[in-house]
């Protein structure tokens, strides 16, 4: 009966219960889902995969789900690393990829209005043809959807200048759990009550389905130039990066790799085999402005005793920036690994790095800790730390227990030193248990919003620490 009601909305081609579709929606980029699949354990499967093509269809599906109290998990590209798109309570997986129309490129306002199921790379290509770009260029640009980035407050490689996705959104259309379709205000800066965009940004499909968004676009810059430095010590690199930001220069990229990652990944991908901390930065825009800013940033790095590796070594990094994420460069099974991305103010970020490193290296001698600092703000920066275990226990339950222990200890070390649970990958299934610890009393406000918008808890239950009822 449920199937025929859903079929009535989307048509028989856009609903599936086939084993191969259920499997494809039962493993996302969450290491534990991959572990479960690898070890022949049953991964959580939906009862139905539905592919709505319009906002109206989303709305009608949610009305049915709300009536029968069927869990609904939105699915974009499945590239999320936190298990956010896994249908842990079964029910409906709503695959968003068929809602992908590019509605308008407004060259006067420099905005684009587009459905959220669009593949980010496809959107960029369309905009490029029109001479623009969202400048949202994450490593997963080829695999993720706009909706996924909105849901996780994602970030791209040029975020230091152009912002994270939450800085790029002008307005959104959202379908609430009861099927109601709402629009946020047409501009994101106003004094007409709280900004509703920010309620749904980062809500990971727990408050509704984001179906359409208007984003800023930017002209393609005249030039984009890069420069690389090598610092004998990570702290000097951190100081240099901080000085660039506090001088209010506007780099599009700063990325600083610790000594371990410089040895492990920069060497492997870029072929730079040097001891020290590799730093790359870039500026884009009109050439004379870029040259001026470049000069100033170079001077700040010189002052911190960085060795100038030149522009070529910086350009190389840019050219190969996605290569790090492809096999065989990327870690994968049987290795256990996790990205402990966090963010803190400049006065604290160094301590967060050291505290997590110490925690992992002392408690888990079998693990390697590496990290880089990307996504810099006026007040602080993001740490993209990772742990890697080459030979985790063969037993999946033991491996899972070890994995969770590492996360708990490392993230508590981060929080104790002024870090947060996550910067751009989200919470999902993976970190939900730590949400109350992070937010304290403030978590009540999140729970209250959830309860009032989704009293039946149909939207992505089990995620973000919001419980399963």
């Amino acid at each position: 009966m449920i199937r025929s009601e859903l079929e009535d909305i989307v048509g028989p081609e856009d609903i599936s219960q086939s084993p191969v579709d259920k499997l494809a929606h039962a493993v996302d980029y969450y290491w534990v889902a991959e572990l479960w699949h690898d070890r022949g354990q049953k991964t959580p499967q939906a009862d139905f995969i539905v592919y709505p093509q319009t906002t109206q269809e989303v709305s009608r599906i949610l009305k049915i789900a709300n009536t029968y109290k069927i869990p609904v998990t939105p699915w974009g590209g499945g590239s999320g690393s936190q298990g956010g798109a896994l249908p842990v309570c079964g029910g409906i997986v709503m695959d968003m990829k068929k809602i992908c129309v590019l509605h308008e490129v407004n060259k006067t306002a420099m905005t684009v209005t587009v459905d959220t199921g669009i593949n980010m790379q496809q959107l960029e290509w369309e905009l490029e043809k029109k001479g623009g770009s969202t400048m949202h260029l994450p490593a997963s640009i080829t695999c993720a959807t706009l909706g996924g980035f909105i849901a996780h407050r994602g970030t791209g490689v040029l975020s230091t200048k152009y912002g994270k996705i939450e800085d790029m959104i002008i307005s959104m259309e959202v379908v609430l759990p009861d099927g109601r379709i709402i629009n946020t205000l047409p501009v994101p800066r106003h004094a007409s009550g709280p900004d509703l965009n920010q309620v749904f940004l980062g809500s990971e499909g727990t408050l509704g389905v984001v179906t359409r968004a208007t984003l800023k676009i930017h002209p393609i810059p005249e030039v984009r130039k890069f420069q690389a430095f090598l610092f004998p010590d990570l702290r000097q690199g951190l100081e240099a990066g901080k000085n660039i930001m506090c001088k209010r220069l506007r780099p599009c990229v700063i990325r600083l790799y610790d000594e371990a990652e410089t040895q492990r990944l920069i060497k492997r991908v870029l072929g730079i085999d040097r001891q020290g901390a590799y730093l790359v930065f870039g500026f884009d825009g009109d050439e004379d402005m870029v040259d001026l800013e470049m000069k100033s940033a170079v001077r700040l790095c010189d002052e911190m005793k960085g060795e100038n590796l030149g522009t070529e070594m910086g350009q190389e990094w840019w050219n190969h920036r996605y290569k790090f994420f492809f096999p065989p460069y990327m870690f994968h099974m049987p290795q256990a690994f996790g990205t402990l991305d966090t963010v803190a103010t400049f006065d604290k970020i160094g301590n967060v790095y050291t505290a997590m490193k110490k925690t992992i290296e002392t408690n888990f001698p079998e693990a390697t800790y590496i990290g880089h600092f990307s996504h810099w703000y006026d007040w602080g920066c993001m740490l993209y730390a990772r742990f890697i275990i080459d030979n985790p226990p063969a037993d999946p339950h033991e491996a899972l227990a070890l994995y969770n222990r590492i996360w708990n200890l490392a993230l508590r070390a981060s929080m104790e030193n002024g870090g947060v649970l996550n910067e751009h990958h989200g919470i999902g299934l993976k970190l939900g248990r730590l949400m109350k610890e992070l937010h304290g009393e403030a978590f009540f406000a999140l729970e209250a919003i959830k309860k009032s918008l989704d009293p039946n808890n149909i939207m992505n239950p089990g995620k973000m620490g919001l419980g399963i009822n």
Binding site: D21, L23, Y51, K97
Partner: protein, 361 residues
């Protein structure tokens, strides 16, 4: 049914953790489904390999929905060969008689005519054998006329079969390797009887079969017989000034074949030929999309219309046409009559390279 092939295993192991070519995958984009992407396929094939699950009709469908366009391989940093994995899997599926109905229908039609004899051989002998390779084709007669026009302008006689055996490539791509070899051996025998020294074919699949699969199936043609795709042969004629050509004045572009990207192969020859005759009027399709354009040799080769994937042909055509428009091309040249069966590609005229060349005489 364990997949033993080492390379295939590497692909299964890598792809099932990776999403990084999803934006390029033809079948993934057209169907907008997870299971029709390299990763979706690898996830399911891993389960089969590890004997967690068995083949089921939905997995079979996914494996046959792959267009073999190779866009994933082009994009993949590790150069994992998903098309090879798909073909290897189809072989396993076919050996168990489980391919989808549309594939079984194609097989039936390709196996129907196996009783070739002396009567099907060319009437007159000549050094050059023109092997159409795309029978049945709605414009087979016209294709032959174009080739005749070129050859008479060059003053070179040629022979052609009265009835052509199939080359086996389509059967191979569908996983029916034994049947493919059977058909290929008939063609091999018929070619040997013609005593030709040159085989020219306008069809990419036929060309690939004769050059690559025949030797690997133990059916290598006599060493004196050279095989050419028409673009390679026509390039020679043009370079040797055996024919006078008019200059092309319309802007033209070339839709590469995903199956013939070898830098020494037919696509490279076609490109050279177009540059030679069209000069500044030749336009390359824009990158980076050019990298991910499946022009459809593989998909059309398997009679794309028969496939249950809605809009596959239209989507492939739209992508090519959009890129051609961006390049400012008035005409799209295809490498094979198979992919130029209808004269327009989403509103832009298109021709196969043979017909285009004949018009310039």
């Amino acid at each position: 049914m364990k997949t033993q092939n080492k390379d295939c295993n590497a692909t299964i192991d890598a792809c099932r953790y990776c999403f990084m070519c999803r934006h390029a995958c033809t079948s993934g984009l057209v169907t907008a489904t997870e299971s029709n992407t390299p990763r979706g396929r690898a996830l399911a094939l891993f389960n089969v390999r590890e004997q967690h699950t068995a083949y089921d009709p939905s997995l079979t469908e996914t494996i046959y929905n792959c267009t073999l366009c190779g866009a994933c391989k082009q994009w993949c940093e590790g150069k994992f060969d998903m098309p090879a994995l798909v073909i290897a899997t189809r072989e396993k599926i076919a050996s168990n008689g489980q391919p989808p109905a549309w594939a079984r229908t194609i097989r039936q039609s390709l196996l129907q005519q196996q009783d070739f004899s002396q009567q099907d051989l060319p009437e007159k002998k000549a050094d050059v054998l023109f092997y159409l390779g795309v029978q049945p084709h709605p414009r087979a007669g016209e294709i032959l006329k174009h080739f005749s026009k070129i050859m008479s302008a060059a003053g070179i006689p040629f022979q052609t079969f009265k009835r052509e055996p199939d080359h086996g490539k389509i059967l191979q791509l569908l996983g029916y390797v034994d049947d493919a070899k059977k058909n290929a051996s008939i063609l091999h025998a018929q070619i040997s009887k013609t005593s030709c020294s040159v085989v020219v074919t306008p069809d990419i699949l036929a060309c690939l079969a004769l050059k690559n699969e025949f030797p690997s199936w133990g059916l290598a043609l006599e060493p004196k017989i050279k095989v050419f795709h028409v673009s390679e042969y026509l390039l020679q004629l043009a370079q040797q000034k055996k024919i006078q050509l008019k200059k092309e004045t319309r802007t033209v572009t070339l839709a590469d074949s995903e199956l013939a990207s070898d830098p020494q192969g037919p696509a490279a020859a076609a490109r050279q030929l177009l540059r030679l005759t069209a000069g500044d009027c030749f336009r390359e399709l824009p990158k980076p999309e050019n990298l991910v354009l499946a022009t459809g040799e593989a998909a059309f080769g398997m009679e794309v219309d028969c496939r249950p994937v809605a809009n596959l042909k239209e989507t492939l055509e739209k992508r090519i046409a959009a890129a051609a428009r961006q390049a400012g091309a008035e005409k799209i040249i295809m490498l094979s009559p198979r992919t130029a069966a209808s004269p327009s590609c989403d509103g832009i005229p298109r021709q196969d390279i043979l017909e285009w060349f004949a018009e310039l005489i």
